[in-house]
Symmetry: C2
């Protein structure tokens, strides 16, 4: 296994310390992992895991072109739509790597939990189930279980939307509104996620699975989630730190535009987008969400 | 509003302190609330909220017989099945109060959040929607929103099952398995809850609402939940404190029996019941849950 990073200096330091001090402090990187700052190393890979932020994906793809062989699995782990194009990330990647076996890995899995060997279960989706099953077997570990799926759209939609909803939950938390309000918001948010994703071709059972509901629950309830932490800062009126790593921040606007094209009601995502764009204050948004007319729940 | 308790001495103390020091310390009870230890006071009520533990419900019902008038709303807030009979609580209550307008209130609402006036949203279900809507209007407050429903079975099933799943999540937390494992467990648990509840007449959209998914998420993620705390103690190998207040403890066995009668697969609830009955150790149960064969997620 070779860990390749874009910043050669940082990778050299990581190799010297044998630790990713910024992201996973205190966790020794196994000696079997080679560390490199050179993208050329990808040419030998039997499988490539792409773990760069959603909005940085396109710019690093030219470096992979011609280096990833035919049928080599390329597994995406970032979540969100590309801000400029509203494309799913797998659509962006397949423009550059049409010969690869694209897959998406998603599910409730904090890096620190996985790194410490705690039990984790995720979804691995590709367009064809046999390919997903083969990749799942390549990555499987007793403490890291992968469920194969052929609903790549469902997995990507769930992953993108949950980041926006995590910002909303962080806002509610940062504003001190309590765990009960947050649970209600996750429930309404899941309905919103489903409406949007099914209208865009996702399967409902995927959204009910680990990559949908599972990841939504995890991301919406812990400051370990960058999107939740970003929302918390907004809710508390602080200037958000590390906002560049909040993928939901960039996804919110794309989601709202895509939803309006299909007339899908997305009040929570719309409120998040309006806050990020400075069109609405946090209090106005909360007021708008809390005073929506009482309707039967199915709506 | 009159708060009636079974323990006259405790109610007198609560009246002196104007505070429920055991359950809601630090929250002053509004002066408009009368406090009584005398069940006769119920005879004047326009609406009765029954807030005793599930397993204590039957024994206090004779005291209400003949005191609750025709069509008076009686709102149940306990969750679970009666252990001896596997009846839903509304079934137990209607044996004694057939003339009342029975309703069930359920949803993500920690007493401390509601007491502090934080925004909360819950489901209020009765057999007829107009009755549910009337009761919802009687109890509504800007910070306490009630969504009316006519799916009383769905609300009761969701409330009962989530308490058992909260014990499972507490066990995972107490064992130190991390937030990712817990999120995966909630996801699989929600599938289990749906299978069971739909097979017993609940509507899927109710289970997706505040009283189902919403309450499940809240109860499964905070030690404020008595069932979660009970599970945490089990997972940590401590002797559980206050186990009598864990309604899921008594519901687990009933759920497993009801499920086996209809051949519904309930691995998580079965593991909780086996641990409580001492038939399986916590580690055996976790091992069994984690090594279940990898199946497509829809299963």
């Amino acid at each position: 296994v070779t860990l390749i990073g874009r910043d050669a200096q940082r990778m050299a330091e990581m190799n010297r310390l044998r630790e990713n001090r910024a992201a996973l402090p205190g966790l020794a990187l196994p000696s079997a992992i080679a560390i490199s700052g050179d993208i050329h190393a990808v040419a030998d890979a039997d499988l490539v895991i792409l773990a760069v932020p959603a909005q940085a994906t396109r710019e690093m793809l030219p470096g992979l072109q011609g280096r990833v062989g035919i049928g080599i699995p390329v597994v995406l782990t970032a979540k969100g739509f590309e801000q400029q194009t509203a494309l799913r990330l797998s659509e962006v990647v397949s423009e550059f790597l049409p010969q690869a076996s694209l897959a998406v890995l998603s599910g409730p899995s904090f890096a620190s939990d996985v790194g410490r060997g705690l039990p984790t279960a995720v979804t691995l989706a590709s367009r064809k189930l046999p390919i997903a099953e083969r990749i799942a077997r390549m990555l499987a570990h007793p403490a890291f279980r992968l469920y194969a799926s052929d609903d790549m759209i469902g997995v990507e939609m769930g992953g993108a939307l949950k980041n926006v909803l995590a910002i909303a939950c962080g806002i509610v938390e940062g504003r001190g509104l309590g765990a009960s309000a947050r649970a209600a918001l996750i429930t309404r948010g899941f309905a919103e996620l489903q409406r949007f994703a099914v209208a865009h071709g996702a399967r409902s059972e995927t959204l009910h699975g680990l990559s949908g509901l599972g990841d939504l629950i995890l991301t919406c309830s812990s400051p370990q989630s960058r999107n939740f932490a970003f929302g918390m800062a907004l809710g508390a009126g602080r200037s958000p730190m590390g906002g560049k790593l909040s993928e939901g921040r960039f996804t919110a606007q794309a989601v709202v535009e895509m939803a309006s094209g299909k007339a899908i009601e997305m009040p929570i995502c719309a409120a998040v987008a309006a806050i990020i764009d400075g069109e609405m204050s946090v209090d106005q948004a909360i007021e708008a969400l809390m005073t929506r007319p009482l309707r039967p729940e199915a709506g």
